[in-house]
Amino acid sequence: ILGGRTSRPGRWPWQCSLQSEPSGHICGCVLIAKKWVLTVAHCFEGRENAAVWKVVLGINNLDHPSVFMQTRFVKTIILHPRYSRAVVDYDISIVELSEDISETGYVRPVCLPNPEQWLEPDTYCYITGWGHMGNKMPFKLQEGEVRIISLEHCQSYFDMKTITTRMICAGYESGTVDSCMGDSGGPLVCEKPGGRWTLFGLTSWGSVCFSKVLGPGVYSNVSYFVEWIKRQIYIQTFLLN
């Protein structure tokens, strides 16, 4: 996260780290149910084999595992069948964990939006991740507040790519607060009345975040995919397993 701040342990209990040896942390991910996390499809490019991945939850400092940490292997990876590597559209995937997580204050699922629940421009939400900070990679989870930008406005920043309804744009023209390499698959969450946090986006792509070409970040629009997500989980749980 560029322009963010270090997050306190337990503040984002749905944030997880998708890891593969020997690199360790590759992408962010988001816990949505005891056995299911969401991330983006591009994290699995060239590494679609579930056996090479693990998911680490309840962690704040990647370098210092805590007693609250839970690790699960990956049982199944479901990539969106329409994921397009060329235009980074339909950039979403569902990951089935090897076993249920045990819900604690540090490991909890986020809420999913309703399919018709779309974010209004100028809403303020949060992004989190262990991605690049512009000058270094952090050990501790970073958080940043971003503003939602309309798709029309967002398109004006990206003349070579099409912004589709599967995407959400958030950030600032100056790029002061933005997601960056290593944040992919992590959450864009907004607080709803009652203090509940809902997952509206997954960090997907943007300009080279620490170059001089600035602009907002682009996130996969979770509201668009909610029906597909629920359907896949149902099929996997009740019809295939």
């Binding site: 503040r11 329409r82 509940r196 946090w197 397993n241």
Partner: protein, 374 residues
């Protein structure tokens, strides 16, 4: 010709069956080379003037790439017509012989376009020596000249307003290729060979129509995709499956959509929620005979809800309700869904149905985050 000797005979052999007339041995064939489908004639014979033995060979030849590219330079109005008269020569149906282009047509084409090829270091094809073609009306030989109705562009070209031909794939590609920019005018979905959503005029590729993923806001791209019989229902991927197989515990649609949304809660006026199963496209009550709490748990889980908070058995008031009852040995079936444990056509002894409340799974809270006192 019905057999090989006759094929030889058409070339002058004496082996031909006398009953097989020469007319039946015509070498003319319909033109299939897409490039030349706009010609004022529709039959050809091979080999052509380039020595290609078949239309397939012609279609992958260097010449069939060269001429369409050259046509785009607008060097000569009738270049496409000329190139087709030698790629797919007109066949005389009576004699089976070629009708060649007139020498003047060949010479005009060469005069105007040879220099254009020279600019890019290419040579005019050697096989197009114009002296081999007859002069117009000479020696009683017929030859081909374009008339005013000749289509200047091939079907794979777009004709600009100026008359220039540009490749059809360049139409509406965001870059002007016609000298008058007319290839970028009126670029609706149809012109770009795309499908248009009726509600918002959004253009879609034909491959995403009826593919099970809605793309138009009103789902119009996923409507009218199948024509199921009255006793069938449409799967999410638009296949048709018999109603009787819906929610029977076995996936019959290839995308398993006949087994989705089979278990629901129906809420009535008293805010009681009754367990319903959508078997064979009809709503059924679930009979309480032999019911156990583990089944309530399965039902709640299947609906994506949390643990069951209340399960009640309610006497049915309806005279002839539709019942599904528990399979006599449901415990040994190892079923993953509730509806596959239920059977139709058996009486419900207790005449009681299941009323169920499930908790909602908790989400979005962060109890470990403490307040920061100032």
């Amino acid at each position: 010709c019905l057999y090989n000797p006759c094929l030889d005979s058409c070339g002058g052999s004496s082996l031909c069956d006398p009953n097989n007339s020469l007319n039946n041995c015509s070498q003319c064939e319909p033109i299939t080379l897409e490039l030349c489908m706009n010609l004022p004639y529709n039959s050809t014979s091979y080999p052509n003037y380039f020595g290609h033995r078949t239309q397939k060979e012609a279609s992958i030849s260097w010449e069939s790439s060269l001429f369409p590219a050259l046509v785009q330079t607008n060097c000569y109005k009738y270049l496409m017509f000329f190139s087709c008269t030698i790629l797919v020569p007109k066949c005389d149906v009576n004699t089976g012989e070629h009708i060649p282009p007139c020498r003047a047509l060949c010479e005009h084409s060469k005069e105007r376009c040879e220099s254009v090829l020279g600019i890019v270091g290419l040579q005019w094809p050697e096989d197009t020596d114009c002296s081999q073609f007859p002069e117009e009306n000479s020696d009683n030989q017929t030859c081909l000249m374009p008339d005013e109705y000749v289509e200047e562009c091939s079907p794979s070209h777009f004709k600009c307003r100026s008359g220039q031909c540009v490749l059809a794939s360049r139409r509406c590609d965001g870059q002007a290729d016609c000298d008058d920019d007319s290839d970028e005018e009126n670029c609706g979905c149809k012109e770009r060979d795309l499908w248009e959503c009726p509600s918002n005029k959004q253009c879609l590729k034909h491959t995403v129509i009826c593919d099970g993923f809605p793309d138009c806001p009103d789902y119009m791209d996923e409507k009218n995709c199948s024509f199921c019989q009255d006793d069938e229902l449409e799967c999410a991927n638009h296949a048709c499956v018999s109603r009787d197989l819906w929610c029977d515990g076995e996936a019959d649609c290839s995308d398993s959509s006949d087994e989705w949304d089979c278990v629901t809660l129906s809420i009535n006026v008293n805010s009681s929620s009754f367990l319903m199963v959508h078997r064979a496209a009809t709503e059924h009550h679930v009979c309480a005979d032999g019911w156990q709490e583990i089944l309530s748990q399965l039902a709640c889980k299947q609906m994506g809800l949390g643990e069951p908070s209340v399960t009640k058995l309610i006497q049915e008031q309806e005279k002839e309700p539709r019942w599904l009852t528990l399979h006599s040995n449901w415990e040994s079936l190892n079923g993953t869904t509730l509806h596959e444990l239920l059977v139709n056509g058996q009486s419900c002894e207790s005449r009681s149905k299941i009323s169920l409340l499930c908790t909602k799974q908790d989400c979005g809270r962060r109890p470990a985050a403490r307040m920061n006192k100032r």
